[in-house]
């Protein structure tokens, strides 16, 4: 444990040193418990994310990755530290963000298209232009023709795709994804991973994907941020220099396996994962 604490993580300069979109510095989160024993959910989180970068955050349950995401999404207050987007301090929800949740969280009384349009309505964007954009996004994720269906007429995978379209419709620069495929079966999950890669390469968004699947993290990301629990902190940031576009078959190559093994070692050495 003392080794983890002394291991100071220097904010890594992202590959090709593009402009920094998001800077997280000295971020801490302490949950005040009623019994007086406070829980440190996040300890000294430092991370720079470049414009257009795909970052995966991987870690076991309780490592604070969802807490980190909630702070970035603006629904949870941080205890200390700074979060800045393009140099502007981020306090609370931002229009620059699109969030994809663990569950699709669709509103059952709205059609697929009306669900995608939720951010547009909330932020009062131009409706006509956004409707075209929403239909375009739905077509991109293979839901063309489903615009007037209701959520409970769709499968879980299709619902999550609607959630992704909703996160993109107001053209945010930063997409936060909180274990979006955790509830899906393995086959659907692989398909969704392929689609997410395509969406990312077509839209050039910056994406932060929180997951507890190591292969998923490696497969999609430019960099994988490794977190461990008690207290939640970053123990490693690994650049994934596998060529793009990546194919599913790449998961069987030795290079891919080496990345996965390197990440898994962090968890087995921490005793949080039987690897």
């Amino acid at each position: 444990m003392s080794q983890g604490a002394s291991q100071k993580i220097v904010p890594m300069i992202p590959p090709n040193s593009a402009a920094t979109l998001l800077r997280i510095a000295g971020l801490e989160k302490i949950y005040k418990a009623k019994d007086g024993i406070d829980v440190q959910a996040l300890q000294d989180i430092n991370l720079d994310i470049a414009d257009g970068e795909f970052v995966s955050i991987v870690g076991p349950s309780g490592c604070g990755k969802s807490t980190l995401l909630k702070i970035l999404a603006g629904t949870l207050e941080r205890s200390s530290g700074t979060v800045a987007m393009r140099g502007q301090s981020l306090n609370g929800p931002s229009r620059e963000l699109g969030v994809v949740f663990q569950a699709p969280v669709l509103l059952p009384w709205r059609t697929v298209l009306q669900n995608v349009m939720v951010p547009i309505e909330v932020q009062k964007h131009d409706r006509a232009r956004s409707t075209a954009k929403a239909k375009e996004l739905l077509a991109m994720v293979g839901l063309g023709g489903f615009e007037s269906k209701y959520p409970n007429e769709l499968s879980g995978g299709m619902q999550q795709r609607v959630g992704i379209c909703r996160a993109l419709v107001h053209d945010p620069s930063f997409l936060l994804m909180d274990e979006p495929f955790g509830a899906l079966d393995a086959m659907t999950r692989e398909t969704m991973n392929g689609e997410l890669q395509r969406i990312w390469s077509e839209s050039r968004k910056t994406i932060m994907l929180v997951t507890h699947s190591i292969p998923e993290a490696v497969y999609l990301a430019d960099r994988v941020v490794v977190m461990t629990p008690r207290p939640g902190r970053i123990v490693d940031v690994i650049a994934i220099d596998l060529p793009r576009p990546r194919r599913l078959a790449m998961q069987n190559t030795p290079e891919f396996g080496r990345f996965v093994a390197a990440i898994r070692r962090h968890f087995s050495s921490e005793g949080v994962l039987d690897a």
């Binding site: 999404a73 629904t75 929800p93 229009r95 969030v99 509103l107 059952p108 939720v118 209701y150 409970n152």
Partner: protein
């Protein structure tokens, strides 16, 4: 093989309304037969045929349609007034914990008072006409709508609210886009209870003192020992109640359509 077809026939019989109609006919026939066979006096229990006769002639002899119209007006006006004030106060209380602490104990205290006991006072205040019945009906219809509105407006799942908040929604937007639609199923439960209670409210009001209406007519029939006439009006009242309940259900299925789609259909829906 024949066992299989028998089973499907039996199942079809259970699913169709035919069975309940059949049971009803048997019940009526048994009633008629029993009263005639045991020679039950008609001031104790009239035969179904005497009730039907009385019902048929009620429109000519007693101006039944006029009394029905009066009672219907009391039910509907009282229901609308009670439901509207229940909705309004429900919104206010659900949105303001302070106002809830101030007002809700009194609302509950008022609710625990039997409305039958209040009815004579209301008749003295508002007179023997229609107004006092509308007021009594409204006080009865008010509470179920109020209680269900409050619970409904607080029933919105946390993740839906959080989703809207991350997209920078204001409090008013969260209310309009999530809290209100989530409250609708609860509000309809309240309206359904309220409409059935409204029928009781109007009759209670007329019993205390009235110049017209089905409750007034029931009292008159009772004074004349016209049991068949009383039964005829009771049947008319239950038809009114079922009809109004059905109307609320119809509106609910149209407005809260997404609940019907999720597969948890209620029997007979």
């Amino acid at each position: 093989m024949s066992g299989l077809s028998d089973k499907t026939l039996g199942k079809r019989l259970i699913d169709s309304p035919l069975l309940s109609i059949l049971v009803f006919c048997l019940f009526i026939a048994g009633w008629e037969g029993a009263v005639r066979f045991f020679e039950v006096p008609k001031i104790v229990l009239p035969t179904p045929s005497a009730i039907a006769w009385s019902f048929w002639h009620g429109f000519d002899d007693d101006n039944l349609q006029w009394h029905l119209a009066v009672t219907m007006y009391e039910i509907v006006a009282g229901f609308v007034a009670g439901a509207a004030s229940g909705l309004l106060l429900g919104f206010v209380i659900a949105l303001s914990p302070l106002l809830e602490r101030i007002f809700y104990p009194y609302v509950v205290a008022f609710q625990t008072i039997p409305k039958v006991a209040v009815a004579p006072i209301v008749v003295i205040w508002f007179g023997y006409g229609v107004a006092s019945k509308v007021v009594i009906t409204a006080t009865i219809a008010f509470f179920p709508v109020l209680a269900n509105t409050i619970v409904g407006l607080r029933s919105a799942p946390h993740d839906q609210i959080e989703m809207l908040v991350t997209y920078t929604a204001s409090r008013a937007q969260v209310f309009r886009m999530v809290r209100l639609p989530q409250a609708l199923p609860y509000i309809f439960v309240g309206l359904d209870v309220a409409i059935v209670l409204s029928v009781i409210g109007a009759i209670v009001g007329e019993f205390v003192g009235a110049k017209a209406g089905l409750g007034y007519l029931i009292l008159q029939k009772n004074f004349n020992f016209d049991m068949a006439g009383t039964f005829a009006i009771l049947i008319l009242l239950s038809v009114v109640g079922v009809g109004l309940h059905w109307l609320i259900g119809l509106a609910q299925r149209r407005i809260v359509f997404w609940l019907d789609m999720s597969g948890n259909r209620v029997m007979g829906a």
